[in-house]
């Protein structure tokens, strides 16, 4: 487990997910977690013992959003990472990675190469940036299934950044972040931003049928961060002044927490 003192999430345990479009804020968060820039406490998920900051950082593996390809063969790259040819052979056999150059690998096999260091003895924590956007539609769920299988079988604690609601089912906890602000905790998807994310999944439809979604850009510095794109605020006149000028509080809605004036007023 990783306990964060002043982070957007209090702890990273099992499979903790941050749902939201990938942006520079999330990139910064993931990088600072990897570098150990944040005030955190590492607890070994297998023994429950406290770990030093140095050991914590060394046990944290980051899967970057952009998986670099190249002419290097999968086996050569893994040998450099794992430093044991026997281990490399075992992992390649286990995951079914062909010994082709990274340029020639399918998206799924490329992901498998980058997942291989999760089998390293020292790995305890994994941060997975939103790799799913660079994987083909058909392989996204397969990538997630494989990732979850490895995380569970190795007993790791993971932080997953996902931008699609289709991918949150294996998460033990979900935090919805719009830019650097937490707008919701839980899987109920109550916040207008969460609803935009939920509505933006494109299913089969009719020719010329649009998806009911607004283009989301940079957030506002005053009031609710999301108010410029909020359909709920647009529909409810009495919310406009509040949403534009005052930051909404986080309110409890049964098993979820949401930062929205529409819910804050109801409670």
């Amino acid at each position: 487990m990783i306990q964060l003192k002043n982070g957007p999430i209090p702890l990273i345990k099992d499979i903790t997910c941050i749902l939201g479009e990938w942006d520079e804020y999330k990139a910064r968060l993931s990088q600072s977690l990897k570098r150990g820039d944040l005030e955190v406490q590492y607890i070994d998920p297998s023994t429950g013992e406290y770990m030093s900051r140095k050991d914590g950082i060394r046990s944290t593996y980051l899967i970057p959003r952009h998986l670099e390809r190249g002419r290097i063969k999968a086996k050569d790259l893994l040998s450099a990472w794992l430093k044991s040819s026997k281990r490399v052979q075992e992992i390649m056999f286990l995951l079914g990675i062909p010994d082709d150059s990274l340029d020639d690998l399918s998206d799924l096999n490329l992901v498998k190469v980058y997942l291989s260091p999760l089998f390293m003895e020292k790995t305890r924590f994994v941060i997975v940036e939103d790799i799913f956007q660079e994987v083909e539609e058909q392989e996204r769920l397969k990538v997630e299934k494989l990732l979850v299988k490895i995380i569970r079988s190795r007993g790791l604690d993971a932080l997953l950044f996902v931008s699609s609601v289709d991918l949150i089912s294996p998460c033990s906890s979900v935090t919805v972040m719009y830019e650097d602000e937490v707008v919701e905790r839980g899987t109920r998807l109550l916040h207008p931003y969460s609803m935009v994310l939920a509505n933006s999944v494109i299913r089969l439809g009719r020719k010329g049928e649009k998806v009911s979604v607004v283009e989301v850009g940079e957030g506002s510095m005053s009031g609710c961060r999301f108010h410029d794109y909020c359909e709920v605020m647009r529909r409810k006149r009495d919310l406009q002044r509040l949403c534009r000028l005052q930051k909404p509080p986080m309110v409890q809605m049964e098993d979820a927490e949401v930062k929205c004036w529409d819910y804050a007023r109801r409670t």
Binding site: E21, W22, S106, E136, S163, S200, V201, V213
Partner: protein, 283 residues
């Protein structure tokens, strides 16, 4: 009319299609061969056999026409729009350069017309002054589309609309393209791996597997017949791609029988065509 007659190139086997007034969608995974369609059409590949007829003129044999054909008659949006831009020039310069190099007008004209198409895609005019790296992936994709359509070519081919975009980005982009399709006279071809996007953009869908078309028709996504199309829509494609004899999907098809290893002919059911022995035998 843009007509592909048994076009064969690395990765694509005897591809035939017609693009006229209606939009065509090519559904296929990575390495299905759809990647070769744009380079083959724009004359960027060698060793292409068959013919690509633009109003009866074979583009494969008339390479001297290609300069006039590109952008003015046929244009494309590549899967990674970053590759369409010179990183040292502003967006506006790209519009100007195309107009000037094709001797259609001066650079002011290019920027003026380009601006209208940027607006059509929901972008602000300040984008014109920006360098490609200053744009978000969604903005870059929209600019690439504006660049491909601003001369209103007869045919525009889109490769993988969703590459590098999040769910919100791709949904808003798809909505913008639906608006665009109602505003320009060009015909569109979409090379996609997302059935949801194609169902909303294409009148006629062709399904490609390992370089071969296995099914086509206007209702392919709503009523798929070929096992590959069904598996693709349901997200149940096997990881291992074993090429089968006869039907290209026979190597991993759940319903495969020895008959599938023979040459499988097309079976027509109204305007829906499928290459699967199950329908040929009436199973």
């Amino acid at each position: 009319m843009l007509e592909y007659n048994c076009v064969t190139v690395k990765g694509l086997k005897c591809f035939s299609a017609k693009l006229d007034k209606k939009s065509v969608g090519i559904l296929g995974e990575k390495d299905s061969g759809k990647e070769a369609i744009i380079p083959a059409t724009l004359g960027l590949l060698d060793n292409v056999s068959g013919s690509i007829l633009l109003d009866g003129i074979d583009l494969l044999k008339s390479r001297d026409l290609l300069h006039k054909v590109r952008w003015e008659r046929i244009s494309a949006v590549f899967y990674d729009p970053g590759t369409m831009f010179n990183p040292l020039y502003t967006v506006g310069s790209h519009f100007a350069e195309i107009v000037v190099s094709h001797e259609i007008g001066n650079s002011e004209y290019g920027v003026e017309v380009g601006l209208e198409y940027l607006k059509l895609m929901g972008l602000n005019s300040d984008v014109m002054e920006k360098l490609p790296y200053q744009l978000t992936p969604l903005q870059l994709k929209k600019v690439a589309i504006a660049l491909a359509v601003f001369l209103e070519p007869d045919y525009v081919i889109f490769d993988d609309l969703e590459f590098g975009l999040g769910d919100i980005g791709r949904a808003t982009l798809m909505n913008s393209i639906i608006d665009l399709m109602g505003s320009v006279r060009s015909s569109f071809m979409f090379l996609e791996n997302n059935p949801g996007i194609l169902s909303r953009l294409a009148d006629h869908v062709m399904v490609l597997y390992r370089g071969e078309v296995v099914e086509e028709g206007p209702e392919v996504l709503q009523s798929p017949l070929h096992p590959y199309t069904i598996d693709l829509i349901n997200g149940e494609i096997e990881e291992e791609k074993v090429e089968g004899k006869g039907c290209p999907y026979s190597g991993i098809c759940k319903h495969s029988t020895p008959k599938c290893f023979q040459n499988v002919n097309w079976v027509s059911m109204g305007n829906h065509r499928v290459r699967c022995i199950a329908y040929a035998c009436g199973i």
